[in-house]
Amino acid sequence: MAESILEVENLRKYYLQPRGLFSPFKTEKRIIPAVDDVSFYIKKNETMGLVGETGCGKTTIGRSILKLTPVTSGRVIFNGTDITHLTPSEFRPYRRQMQMIFQDLDAALNPKMRIKSILTEALTVHHKLSEAEINHRIEELLEKVNLKKSKLSSFSGELSGGEKRRVGIARSLAVGARFLVADEPTSALDVSIQAQVVNLLKDLQKNLGLSYLFISHDLRIVELLSHKVAVMYLGRIVEMGLAGRIANAPRHPYTRILWSSLLKKKSQEATQVPSDQHDGRWGVFDFERSYSGCRFAPRCPVYEAKGNPAICSDPANAPKLSDIGNGHKVSCHFPLE
């Protein structure tokens, strides 16, 4: 077994929501458990996919790992070092090795800087380099991410979506990152450009031995890129395992619904649309809803089919992520066969 590059243990991130103007003086606060008791590890040269609907805490996990947001409790271990409680100056050498590819590159790239300055800034922030070295490194980077040299003098607004994405990846690689959190790198891109970016990510992994935490809600891309996949629902991992198993033999009802919505779309005929009894409940999930026991129970078809068993809604008996063989973990009282 290869050494793991990143381990996350019992990560929790709670947001406090202020209630009204005088909330600082109030003792009662509403807690939003964006990430609740999440543990996983990523091996070297491996990709872990993280899927789930909007608002389930995918991005918060990515941000907590990179210490872009402080965690409530839990540990993040990078390369054998616990980085959770490092001070900013102690964390600097690790920051060099772990980087993020942001979702919205229009916001992530400075519109008033030329591409060359963006890359130069990334190169010089951690290392002292001479002019010649910088130019040499930039050339290397451009070659790695397949970008034309003529684009160096452009502003980010003049680039296409795929080119911007490449600049974002080049900037992450500039500091010598070995672990990348890719937060929805292909959303809002056309299929043709998406294919280019996916191929680039695969190439980089092969040539530079990178590890990715790949956050996305595009299930096909996740399945294609990832070795392992974790499925999240309302701040918890409900199922985790090898990509092929998760996609083809899901054990958690939620995973099955996620992947079947994809299959349905694929084979859909314009005239025949299968009706869905769960229409009303679809999309009305949020942290404000009170739940007890299993968080998925209000939407769960199995829960309904079994006649609302008490164990699913018993607060003392929330399902735990348990191994069902071959590293396939599922958190459900009645896993599917």
């Binding site: 998406q194 294919a195 996916v198 891309i221 294609l224 996609a247 649309v273 229409d279 409940r281 679809w282």
Partner: protein
């Protein structure tokens, strides 16, 4: 295609003047389209190929000053028959043989006024539009129900507030909003993206339009919500039967909903025909661009083997410097030596190669 067209676009060109580059960006460059009654026309293409600008041109939402628009847009419905487009010819000097614009007179404010006069009673009433980002398109401070009621009172003969409210509730139920009577009083920020999109669809359909333009209705939504919205649109298509122009870069969405498909690239149509011919993987005779687009979708095979995807090399055509020859030539991988010279120097025209299926490629011409 037998039914009479609701919308007929002839030789539409929409250009924008870029001050920095001192040149025209030719976003839409000679598009001919017709949409039959009850038909759904899907328009696919990468971003920057002119899909949305076509829609905005139809709605008369292209700003007069940097935008220049010529051609013909004819709308023919049960109530109205009108040429929507005020040709800019009186306001600019155009070289008609090349379509190139020689000079823009400074005073084209009159044109803008004309457009607004023509579009009165058509925007929202005869042609409704669903925008890409429902959260931005709805007013965040007004409950969605109220916004729909307002739209009904303006755009339909129903003027009484109570009747309009009933109508709004009916449409909210029709788009399968859960508990419509409660959601009526919700502000857009209290609703999820999928629910806002449902409200947008309800508002667009509430005025009983002859033509619905859906500009990327599912982009930016989750996979599960996306398939729900697609289901809903398919459902409404069979129950309401509204003529729709569906714009998307998601081929799966287009495939699920359209009858006919137009493939746009660099401001022109490269291919046009029934969905079964254009977007099926089996059908061989298709434009190289369409084939490449279909190839770049991840398939079972790629996922199983964890292989590479088929990307289209290069980037979307820069519509300022339009090449002399085929617009897709620089990215095309099906160019043979025999036709290479033609592809490079002569632009192919849109020719019909089988019934209802036309495309623009030298490969298929004798």
């Amino acid at each position: 295609m037998n039914s009479r067209p609701v919308l007929k676009i002839e030789n539409l060109r929409t250009f924008f003047y870029s001050k920095g580059k001192r040149a025209f960006v030719r976003s839409v460059d000679g598009v001919n389209l017709r949409i039959g009654k009850g038909e759904t026309l899907g328009i696919v293409g990468e971003s920057g190929s002119g899909k949305s600008v076509t829609a905005l041109s139809i709605m008369g939402l292209v700003p007069g000053e940097p935008g220049v628009i010529i051609g013909k847009i004819g709308l023919k419905t049960d109530n109205i028959q009108k040429n929507l487009l005020q040709d800019l010819r009186d306001y600019v000097k155009i070289n008609m043989s090349t379509g190139r614009i020689m000079e823009v007179y400074k005073d084209n404010v009159g044109w803008q006024k004309n457009v607004d006069r023509v579009m009165q009673g058509i925007r929202g009433t005869e042609i409704a539009m669903i925008f890409q980002n429902p959260k931005l398109a709805l007013n965040p401070f007004i409950p969605i129900g109220k916004q729909i009621t307002e739209s009904i009172r303006i755009n339909t003969p129903i003027k009484k507030r109570s009747q309009a409210r009933e109508r709004a509730m009916y449409w909210l139920a029709k788009v399968k909003m859960d508990s419509p009577r409660l959601r009526y009083y919700n502000n857009p920020y209290g609703l999820s993206g999928g629910m806002c999109q449902r409200a947008m669809i309800a508002m667009a359909l509430s005025s009983d339009p002859s033509l619905l333009i859906a500009d990327e209705p599912t982009t930016g939504l989750d996979a599960t919500i996306q398939s729900k919205i697609v289901d809903l649109l398919a459902d409404l298509k069979s129950s309401v039967g509204v003529t729709t122009m569906l714009i998307s870069h998601d081929i799966n969405v287009i495939k699920a909903l359209s009858d006919n498909v137009a493939v746009m690239y660099g401001g022109t149509l490269l291919e046009h025909g029934p969905v079964g011919i254009i977007l099926s993987a089996e059908h061989q005779a298709k434009h190289p661009y369409t084939a490449a687009l279909l190839e770049s979708i991840p398939r079972e095979k790629h996922i199983r083997e964890k292989g590479y995807l088929q990307a289209i090399k290069g980037d979307v055509l820069d519509t300022i410097n339009i090449p002399l020859g085929c617009r897709f030539y620089s990215r095309c991988d099906k160019v043979t030596e025999k036709i290479q010279e033609k592809c490079d120097n002569h632009e192919p025209d849109l020719r019909e190669i089988s019934s209802g299926h036309s495309l623009r490629c030298w490969l298929y011409y004798e």
